[in-house]
Structure formats: structure tokens, C-alpha cells
Amino acid sequence: MNRKILAAGSIAAVAALALAGCSSGDSGEAADPDAPVTLSVSAWSIETTPEFQLLADEFAKTHDNVKVELKEYDPAEYNTLVTADLAAGSGPDIITQKEVKYVTTFQEGGQLLDVSDVALPEGIGGASSYEVDGTAYAVPYRQDSWVLFYNKALFDAAGVEYPDGSWTWDDYATAAEALTTDASKGAYLHNWQSTVQGFANAQTGTDILEGDFSNLKDYYDNTLALQGAGAQVDFNTAKANQLTYQGEFGTQKAAMLLMGTWYTATLIAQQASGEANEFEWGIAPVPQLDASTAGTDNTPVTFGDPTGFGINANIDEAKADAAKAFLEFAASEEAAQLLAGIGITPALTNDAIAETYFGVEGAPADELSAFSWATHETLPENPTSSKTAAIQGILGDLHTAVMSTDQTIDAAITTAEERVKSEVGLD
């Protein structure tokens, strides 16, 4: 008898727990603009990514009735976890868009609110990455773009002139070979597909959704030539030894590094902590396809994707206005100044913001660094389409096949083009 009661009791308890887990609880409340509101914002690595807390705190200062809470996710599984939460109806109010290639998944799934009415400052970059058919589904607050980091000490030692902003890829290759010594390579190219394909697509104006990848050939030929000449660590060795770009450039094993502007803050911090060697460095625009976009009187072409905030389509109506106010704040010049102050590249850059950014101790002080950070045409690496993730997967296979010298670039391009046609389909 007792056992029966126990069994029935435990079954009831389990059922109750299961039901409690399913209910989402929110019921509509009357909208009152001054009623206290709590906004939840999805974030990752809050400890090492201080931008979230900064924006939350600063926003709350001017909005007394709004409390901003951060909801932390594992950075490696961010999109999967946020997706799971949204599918279960327990997603955050503000959904941080970590990677542009997943924006359409959220948008097509009806998870993002139309935020076209959020005012954006003039000249902000990356906003188009969040537009689908003319409707904005998120606003950018941060936009890293790719630049060339170079080690001034190694340039001096090899007697090579610093980059002057006019470099094409040939100049880069010549310098890399001249900079190579027994102790250090001329350049380090990280094993991501972006390090070749990002430049190739941006500088030749190629839309990967069109499924024609012939533009990649010259860029791969260049990098394979550098690898063959020993001016950069070859792909197979870098992979087998799991080399990191921070280690290669930070400990002076390579004189040049093509990388996103996020590395600036890391390098300053690592030099301060002793993880990286003490040496003088600068940043320059990435090498260009030809002279037409090179030089400080032109706007160099590079690539990069923004990071932005979107609003959960199922947000409580009472919270929607506060959420839009948060988005507007995050994209504003005020927020850009705050972000630049902690070493983050905001989506909005101008001279005043650049001054703040380079005012940090340990940051390079030369003019070219400021120019290359603030002046560029940054094309999106990932077009906003539901096909992007699949096509990038195919191009990722092309990258490993070519860089490991397992397949010729021509054969790999043919394979990739055929796969896109048959597996993804063209518009």
C-alpha cells in the first residue's frame, strides 16, 4: 500500500515537473511606457567580452525603468543553443546576432521582429547584412574588418620598408619573401577559409550565391606560391601543430598577419600580460587586387561581418519599445565611443571614435594604423541568405583540399561549383 502511494506520488511529481517545464507563463499586460521592464539579452563569454555588460549598464543609466539582464551562452554552440531556446519559446528578448549566416534561419523561422523603425546614425557599417527584402531584422553595433598587422621590429631588422597603404598582393608577396629568415616567416596565414576567400570575394566583387568561384584561382595561386617559397608556414604544418595566430604573430614568428580588427585588443592585452613579446607593431590596409583601390587617397576594399542585436518576435508588447530603444542606443555614436574605449571596433567609425580607440595604452600611434582602422569599404563575408551556410560549407571543403595541396585549384573549383549546383541549387 505504502509503495503504491509512493509510486503514484512520484509519477505525479514527475508529471508536474514536466508540465512546469512546458509552460512559458507570460501573459499580456497593458502597455505603460514608464512601467518597470526587464530586458534579457543573449550574450557569450561575458568575462572576456565586456561589451555586453558595458552596453547594458550604460543603457540602464538613462532608462530608469529598464533593467537589462544578460543571458550567457556557450560561445562555441551559441547559435544552436539560442535556436533551441527560441524553438522552446524561452528565448531572450534581445537576440544578439553572433554570425550573419544564421540571420536568415531566425528570420525565416519568424523569430525576429521588424526593426526598420529604429533610427541608425549616418555612416554606420553592416546594416545591410540584416536586411531581408528591404526590412531590417537587427541593427549592427560592432563591425570588425580585416586589416594587415605587421611587426615593425622585424621589418627594420630585414631592412624592408613598412607598408604605406598602397600595397597590392604582389607587394605583399615580395615583402613576405624578403622578411623570411631562419627564425621567422614573412607572414602567417591562419587556416580559416576567410583568409583567402574573404579577400577574393570582396575584392573581385563576387557574390558566392551565384555559384561561380573562378575568382578564387589567383588568390589561391598567390598564397600557395608563398607557402611553396617558405615565406609562410604551410597549411599542413599549421594544422598538424594546431598553430594559433596569436602565438605566431605575438611571439614574433611571423612579421605580417592578415586578421580582423578584434586582434588589436587581444594583442595589446597580451603584450601587457607578457603572453606576447614586447615589440612595436602597426596596422595597414589589406593588400588590394590592383592600384585602383590602393593608397591612402583611395578606400581600400576588405571584408567583415557585423555583430548586431535583433528583437525576439514573441517579445511582450510592453517591452518592445524599450527593446527598440536599446537597439538604437547600441548603434549610436555614444555607444560607439564607449565600445572604442574598451578596444572594440564599433559599426560606426569616424575620426573622433578612432581617436578614442587608439588612445588606449599600447595601441599603435602612427597615422596609417588609424587610417586603416577607420577607412575601408567592408563587404560582407556572408550574404544574407538561407543558402549561405551550405555554400560556405562547400567552400570550406575547397579550402582544405587546395591548401593541403591535395587537389589543384582548378579541380577544386569545378567540384565546388558542381556541388553548389546539385546540393544547394542556384536562384
Binding site: 514527475v14 527560441l86 544564421y102 593541403s404 546540393e423
Partner: protein
């Protein structure tokens, strides 16, 4: 309750008591397996059943699961990457299963003797199995490094001019993965074979020896037939595990170079979690499920025929 006066009363009373007892026993039995079964039911069985349904939809994770009939399966038939993943999985299994059986059985035979320090060697052979798979991948990646790796250094030292590119070449990436997974699994299957070897009657060996049978003859005619139940179990487990290979490939090659080591589980993972095509990924998972179940049924039938 009112049966005291009737002469045939004891029978129904006994019956009732017996059925109450049976019910009680059944209830106790159920309560013992309930925690496990509830976990299995909610976390394995239910998702699997849902997966079978999802395979017939275009579900992309956000609720819109429209029924598409066999469209996903038709797409699989024409999907070049799926074909590559399918044949790579078969290729991996065909290399991995026999190699692991031979190596682990060999180890078991060797370590079944009364050697000095046999416990140490048994532990040493089992060690790879309990080592972190990521650590394994990192270290073997270094060992396989085509230009500076110790494996190719040794091959060059013994006069092989053009040693393979291992994980960097289409031809050698899969054999390299098989070498690592065999090295990793051998300890586990060795333990199973060691257990099986304890059941081989000593008298049979002695009788065979008296009859003048050589070591090889005794192995083929005494040891192997006695090991048949173990061998069957090991083969079934190895086959299923080979078809499901995922973690090692993900951390060692991520399917590369190109698609040289792309396997079915990874194809499913990519389609589902990277490209949000959960309906299509479910269809591929169903295909993998049927591949596993068909081969396993075949093995059971074959075993039944052999034991008849």
C-alpha cells in the same frame, strides 16, 4: 471475503491472493526499471520516433514542419555529398572492423599467457580507450604531420622516399583515421576477447596437443570455435560503432581534406546543426539507422545458421 462456508472456496481465494502477489511483484519490477525506462523513453525512444516523422518534413527547427513525403529521401539519392559520406562510412568500416578484430584478438592471445607483468601490459593496451579523444586527435595529428612528423621521419629513415601525406591527402586520410581508431578501440575489444578466452576448456587444448596438433591448428580448431559467441558480439558492436563513427573524425580531420573523410554521422550533423535542415538531416539519420539494422539482422541470421 464471504467464502468461509463454501467447500470450493479455497481455490478462488488462493487465485486472488496469487494474482495480487503477481501484481505486486510486477509493480515492484516496474518500479525498478522505471527510472531507466523513463529516461530511455523520454530521451531516446521518443526523440527517435519524432525523428522518423521529421524525416518526412522540411522542418528547419522553428515549428514550420510541412509534410513533404519522400522528397528528402529522393534528394538523398541524388546528393553527391551523401554518396561520398555513405561510401566513406563503408570504406572506414571495411578497414576498421577486420583490423580491430585481428589486433585485439592477437593482443588478447598474447596477454592470456602467464607473463611477468601481464597486468601492466593489459592496462597499457586498455589505456587508449580511456584517453580523451581530443587529446588523441592532437597528438596523432602531430605524429602524422607529413613533413616533420615522427612517423614520416621513421619511414624516410628506413628508405621510403615518398612517405604518404596521411591526414593531408585524399588517399591516406581515411587509412590514417582507421589506424588511430583501431589503436584506440583495441584495448576494449581485447578485454572482451580475454573474457571469452577464459571460457575455452583447457581439456580440449590438451587433447588436441596429445593428438599432435600444432599451435596454429589448435587456434583454428579449438580456440576460434569456442570464441564464436564472443566473436559474434564483438563483430556486431564493432559494426554498429563503425557505422556511427563521428567524434574521432570530427576532431581529427573534420571530414577533410575536401570531403575525403566525410562520414554519415558528420553529414547528418552538418545538415542539421550547421545548415538548419533538420528534416533533411533526419532523413539521412533514418538511412543510417536502416543501414545499421540491416547489417545487424544479417549478422544475426548468419550466426543462427552457423550455430544450427
Amino acid at each position: 471475503m464471504t467464502t468461509t462456508d463454501a467447500p470450493e472456496a479455497p481455490a478462488p481465494k488462493l487465485k486472488r491472493r496469487r494474482s495480487a502477489l503477481r501484481r505486486r511483484n510486477a509493480l515492484i519490477g516496474w518500479s525498478f526499471i522505471l527510472p531507466n525506462f523513463a529516461g530511455f523513453g523520454f530521451l531516446t525512444l521518443l526523440p527517435v520516433l519524432i525523428l522518423f516523422y521529421m524525416a518526412f518534413t522540411n522542418w528547419n527547427v522553428f515549428g514550420k514542419a510541412d509534410w513533404v513525403g519522400f522528397a528528402n529521401f529522393q534528394r538523398l539519392l541524388g546528393d553527391g555529398s551523401f554518396h561520398i559520406a555513405f561510401w566513406n562510412t563503408i570504406y572506414y568500416s571495411v578497414l576498421h572492423i577486420p583490423l580491430t578484430i585481428v589486433v585485439s584478438l592477437g593482443l588478447a592471445l598474447l596477454l592470456n599467457n602467464k607473463l611477468r607483468g601481464v597486468a601492466f601490459f593489459r592496462t597499457a593496451a586498455f589505456f587508449p580507450y580511456i584517453t580523451s579523444i581530443v587529446a588523441i586527435a592532437v597528438v596523432w595529428n602531430l605524429l602524422f604531420s607529413p613533413d616533420y612528423g615522427p612517423i614520416n621521419e621513421i619511414l624516410r629513415a628506413i628508405g621510403i622516399q615518398n612517405p604518404p601525406g596521411w591526414l593531408t591527402s585524399t588517399e591516406w586520410a581515411m587509412p590514417a583515421v582507421v589506424i588511430v581508431s583501431t589503436w584506440r578501440d583495441m584495448g576494449y575489444y581485447m578485454i572482451l576477447f580475454l573474457a571469452g578466452l577464459q571460457t575455452v576448456p583447457r581439456e580440449l587444448h590438451e587433447a588436441a596437443r596429445v593428438d599432435g596438433a600444432s599451435v596454429w591448428q589448435r587456434f583454428v580448431n579449438v580456440t576460434l570455435p569456442c570464441l564464436r559467441p564472443t566473436m559474434f558480439f564483438v563483430t556486431v558492436m564493432l559494426t554498429i560503432n563503425s557505422f556511427k563513427i563521428f567524434d574521432l573524425i570530427l576532431v581529427m580531420t573534420d571530414g577533410g581534406p575536401g570531403q575525403a573523410t566525410l562520414v554519415l554521422s558528420q553529414f547528418i550533423y552538418k545538415k542539421g546543426f550547421e545548415e538548419s535542415q533538420f528534416g533533411y538531416a533526419s532523413a539521412a539519420a533514418v538511412a543510417l539507422f536502416f543501414l545499421c539494422i540491416l547489417v545487424t539482422i544479417g549478422q544475426f541470421l548468419w550466426n543462427k545458421k552457423r550455430s544450427a
